[in-house]
C-alpha cells in the first residue's frame, strides 16, 4: 500500500518537476568535501561515537564512518557533523 503511494508521488513529482525530497519525505544529505556533512529531514540518531554515526531516515539508516566526528548541531530537522568523513553508507 505504502509502496504504491510512493510510486504515485514519484510520478507526480517527476511530471510537475517538484523537489522529490519534499514530496517523498526523503533525507537531503549535503557533504562539504570530507569535513562536514549535513543531513536534513532525519528521523533521529541511532548511534553516535567519534568513529561511527548512524542516523535513521525514510531512506534507511545512514551510516557515516570517519574520525574525530563531532555533532556540530542537532535540531529536529537537521544534523550537522564535522570531522574527517571517510565513508557514507545507506542501509535500506
Amino acid at each position: 500500500m505504502k509502496d504504491r503511494m510512493d510510486d504515485i508521488k514519484y510520478s507526480v513529482s517527476e511530471a510537475l518537476e517538484l523537489p522529490k525530497d519534499v514530496m517523498l519525505d526523503l533525507p537531503r544529505i549535503i557533504m562539504l568535501g570530507n569535513i562536514q556533512l549535513n543531513v536534513s529531514n532525519h528521523r533521529g540518531i541511532i548511534e553516535y561515537t567519534q568513529e561511527a554515526l548512524r542516523i535513521n531516515s525514510n531512506a534507511g539508516v545512514i551510516k557515516i564512518i570517519g574520525k574525530d566526528m563531532e555533532l556540530k548541531t542537532i535540531l529536529s530537522e537537521e544534523i550537522i557533523v564535522v570531522g574527517t568523513i571517510e565513508k557514507v553508507e545507506i542501509i535500506g
Binding site: 567519534q50 563531532e70 555533532l71 556540530k72 548541531t73 535540531l75 529536529s76
Partner: protein, 394 residues
Amino acid sequence: MQVIRLWNYLRGYVIIKVEGLTLERFLNLAATRDIYLWDIRRLDYTLLEMKVGIGGFKGLEEVVERVGCRVEIMNRNGLPFLLQRLKKRKMLGFGFFIFLAIILFLFSLIWDIQVAGNKRIAEEEIFQTLENVGIRRGIIKYRIDREYVEDRLLDEFEDLSFASVEFKGTRLVVEIKEQDLPPESIDMDTPCNIVATKKGVVLKTIAKNGSALVRKGDVVDEGDVLITGLIRDEDPEVEDMLVHAEGEVLARTVYTYALEEPIVKKVEKETGQVYEAHELRFGKRGIIFSKDDIPFEDYIEKTRKVKLFGREIDVPIKILVHEYREVEVVEEKQDIDALKNTIYMKAIEGINEQLAERVEVESKDVNYKVDGNMLSIHIVVEVIEDIGRKQPLT
C-alpha cells in the same frame, strides 16, 4: 558561523557532561523538544560533552529524567554569567565606571592652547585676551562659547581680519589672520612737505610739486625740509599757497659697520664619548635616572624627547633622554687671511641689513685692524638713495 557563536555568547551557555547508557535517545529527545545542542563530542563510551543554552538547559531536566542519565555542568560561559560574576565583584565594576568617567573627564579638558597665524601680535597678548574670557589650560571645553571668543578676539585686536577658535581633541587652536596694513599714505589733497629721513649730501632734487629748498651739495640733517609745500609769492599781497609737495631728493649717505673677532679661538671638539641619562618628567618636575655622575669634565648637553607611539603627542608625562657628549677644549689660532674673509662676509651681511632696498652703492671702504687677540673690521659704505619722506603741513 561567527555570528552564531557571538549570539550564543550573548545569550549565555553552559558546557555539560552527560553520562548514561542511551545517550542517543537523549540527543533525539532533546532534538524533538527543540532544545538546541551544539558541539557534541563523545568522550567515552558513556560520556558526552556538549553545549546548551541557558533556556535549553532548563528544558533538559525533563529529558534527563526520562532517559535516566547524569548531567554535570563543566563550565558556564557567556555574557549573562559574566554579569553575574560582576555583580558579586561590585568594586570591579565601580572601578571600571570610574575609569571611564576619568577618561571622559580628561578628554573634555583643554590641555593645550595653540595660536597660529599671528605675525605682529605676540602670542602672550592673545593668551592674555583668552585668559580674560576665562580660557586657559585645564578648563572644560564644553563651557567655551566659540563664537563669543572669536568676537572678543576681533574686538580686542583691531587689525584682525579673521579669528577662529577650534577644538582639535584636547587642544584649542586659535587661528587668526592679521590685516595687511596699508602703507601710511597722505591724501593727495593734504598739503605736505618732503623732509629728510637721514643725514646726507644732496645730489639731485627733482621737485614735481612744491618748491625745492635744497640744491646739489647741500648737507642735510634728518628732519630738514627738502621740498616745501608752502609757496610764498614775492608779492606780500598774494596769499601763501599750500600744496602737496612731491618729488625725489637723491642724496649720498654713509653707512658704517664694525665687527670684532678673536684670532685665537676656543673650539670645543667632541671626543666621541657619550653618556646618556633618562628622565621621566611630569609637567615641570622630573626624575633623572642615571647610574652615577657625568664622567666628563667638559661636555655639551643635548636633550631629546622620546616619542611615544612614534608620534609627537602632547602629554604631561614625558620621557627625556639627556645626552652628554664629552668635548675637548682646544685653542685654535686661526689664519688671519681666512679670518679676514669670514669676518668680511659677516660684516657685509650686517651692512646689507641696514640698507634700504633701492639704493645705489657709490663706494665701499674696508679697514682691518689687528689689536692683540682681536681682529676688527670697519666698513664704510656710501650710497645714493632717495631720502625724501612726506610730512603733512600743519
